[in-house]
Subunit: 247 residues, 3 copies
Amino acid sequence: MFSAELKSDTLKGLVNIISTLIDEVKFTITPDGMTLKAVDAAHVAMIEMEIDKGAFENYTAQDSEIGLDLDKVKDVLKLASSGNPIRMEQDETHGRLVFKVGNITRTMHLVDTSSMSDPKVPNLDLAAKISLMVDELQKGIRAAESISDHITLRAGDGYFELSCEGDTDSVNLRLEGESAKVSFDGEPHEVSSMFPLDYFSNITKAIPASTVVTVELDRDYPVKLVFALADGHARVRYLLAPRIESE
Amino acid sequence: MFSAELKSDTLKGLVNIISTLIDEVKFTITPDGMTLKAVDAAHVAMIEMEIDKGAFENYTAQDSEIGLDLDKVKDVLKLASSGNPIRMEQDETHGRLVFKVGNITRTMHLVDTSSMSDPKVPNLDLAAKISLMVDELQKGIRAAESISDHITLRAGDGYFELSCEGDTDSVNLRLEGESAKVSFDGEPHEVSSMFPLDYFSNITKAIPASTVVTVELDRDYPVKLVFALADGHARVRYLLAPRIESE
Amino acid sequence: MFSAELKSDTLKGLVNIISTLIDEVKFTITPDGMTLKAVDAAHVAMIEMEIDKGAFENYTAQDSEIGLDLDKVKDVLKLASSGNPIRMEQDETHGRLVFKVGNITRTMHLVDTSSMSDPKVPNLDLAAKISLMVDELQKGIRAAESISDHITLRAGDGYFELSCEGDTDSVNLRLEGESAKVSFDGEPHEVSSMFPLDYFSNITKAIPASTVVTVELDRDYPVKLVFALADGHARVRYLLAPRIESE
C-alpha cells in the first residue's frame, strides 16, 4: 500500500536529477520515506537518493517497491502548474499507480522491479571537500563546452578550479575564498581528476540554481556530489567515475 | 468590389481557425459580411464560418467570391503589430488583393475559385450539449497526447469527460457543475464518441483562451464545436467525424 | 603588445556585424585603435571598420596584427553577462590571446594572418544619400522575405522605397518625410538597384535597433551602408554588390 501527495515542483526537482542517469527506476518504500539507488547503463555514474516523508504533503506507506518510467512521470508533471499538488495512489490489484492532478486522473502501469537489483555504492573517503553554489559549477561547464569533452576538477589549499584543455585553446575557472570553501581530510595538498563533461554537465544543470553542493575530490578517484532537495527532505549523493589519463 | 479594414488580431484569430483544415480557401462575400464553408482533404472535418461586417472597422462589398492562400495571409499578419489595422482592397483588373499595413503595400494574387465548390454541411441533431471554456478542452488534450492517437468525449447527466486509453495507461479529465454545463435534447443519458486526437487538438488549440465553446455530442456521431470570435461578430461551426470502433 | 578591456555588449555588437561576412578576421592594431577590412568568400560584400581606443575601458597597444576566429570570440561572449567587462591580453610568446571574464580565464590560439591580405575597398561617389533608422530597413526585409530572393532599393526626390517582386505577388515599403531623409549629389532623380536579400538581411539584422544608418545608392551600383557602433567610437562602412538584371 502506498499513497502520497506532494507539490509538483518537489516531484519535478527529484525526477530531473534521477533522469540524468536512467529512465526506469525502482523506489524502495518504507513507512518513513523512499530511497533509490541507480547506476547508468554505461556504469560511469551512480546516484543514491533518500526522500523523507517530510518532503510530502501527505504520505502513507508500507514496505514495498515501486518501479516507475520517469518519461511518463514527466508527462504527468506537464499537467500540473507550479505549486499544484500531485496525488499518487497505488492500485495493487492491477499493478498500477494512479496520479491525480486537479480533475485529471492518470493511470500508469508500474515497471516490473523483479530484475532490478540495487547497485552497490562504494564507500569512498576522499581527501578534499569543497562547498560551493551549483551556479559556479554551471558557469565552469558553460566555459568548458566549446573546448573539450572532458573537464578537470582541481582543489588545493584555499582554491578550487574547473579547467579544460583543447588542442589549441584552454579555459580555467578559479574559485577562492567565500565562493568555494575548501577543507582537507589531513594536510592540504593539490588533488585533481578529469571527468567526462557530458555526465558532469547533465547532473550539474539538473540541480536547481542557488543549491549548495559539496564536491568531494581526490587524485584520479571518482568525484562525489552531495546536495539536498525538497527543503532538505531529500538528500542526494552522486558519484562520477574519473577518466584516467594514459601516459 | 471589395474593400475592408480590420484589426490584425481579428484577422489572425480567423485565419488560425481556418488554417487547421485547409490552406486555400474561398470566401463568399456579400454587402453584409463574408461566409466560408470548407472541408479538409481527408474529409474528416468541416468548418462553417460567418463573419458579420461588424467584425471590420470598415467594410464595403458587392456580391462576389475571393480565393485566398492562407499561408500568404499569415505572412501579411507577421508585418502587423498587435492591434494594428490591416486594409484590404480588391484589384479586380489584375485578380489581386492589395493589403496595406502601415507604410507597407503587399499585393497578393488571388486563388482561382472556379473549381472550389462549397461542401454540403450536414444538419445534425445531437443529443447532448455541453457548454464550457476551451481551456478545459485544451487541458484534456495535453493529458491525452502521451497516451493515444484518439480521444473519447463522454457526456451524461451533469458531467462531461475527456478520456484516453493506451495499451497500459489511461487518462481521464472529468468536468462537473460550473466547469461544464450539460443539457440534453430529451432525457439525460450517457453518450460518447471517439475522435482522432490530432484534428481535435489542432482546432482546440487554435481557439483563443477563455472562449466559451458549445460541444454537441451523441453516440458514434460527429462532434460539433460551436463558438464565436471577433467579439461575437464571427460564428464558427466545426464538425469532426468520429472513429467508429470495430468489434 | 596588446592589452585591452571593453564591455561585453560593445564587443558583441562589433562581432555580430563582422561575422555576417567572415569567421576568421585580421585586426590591424595601432596605439590609437583597431581597423579591419574584409570581404566575404563570394566577393559580394565588403566591410571596413574603425574602432577608436575610446570604445575600450582600457587600451594599450603597439603596431601589430591579430587574427581571430570569431566563433571562438562568440563562445567567450556567452560567458559574460550584459555589461560585464571582458579583458584581453596578447601572449606573444605562445601566439595566443588570453580573455578574462570574471574568474574565468580563456586562452585562445591566434589565427595566422600572414596569408590574409587587406581587400582594396573601392572609393564610390553615389548619387543619393538616405538617412534612416535601421528599424525601417528591418521592417522592409521582413515584408520581402516571403516574396523573392532579391530586394530593390529606390530613392527619389523626398522618398525611399524597399520593394520586391515575386512571380505573382509583390511588396513595397515607402518612406517619406521624417522617416527617411533623402539628399542628392546634384539634381534629385530616381535611382534604384537590386540586391541579394540574404546579404542585405544579414547585415541589417545585425545592426542594433534604433541605430541611424546612412544608405548611399545609385543606379546599378553597389549600395553603401554607413553607421556607428559603440557610442560612436566604432565606424562601419559596408558595401554590397548589386544584382544587374539581364535584359
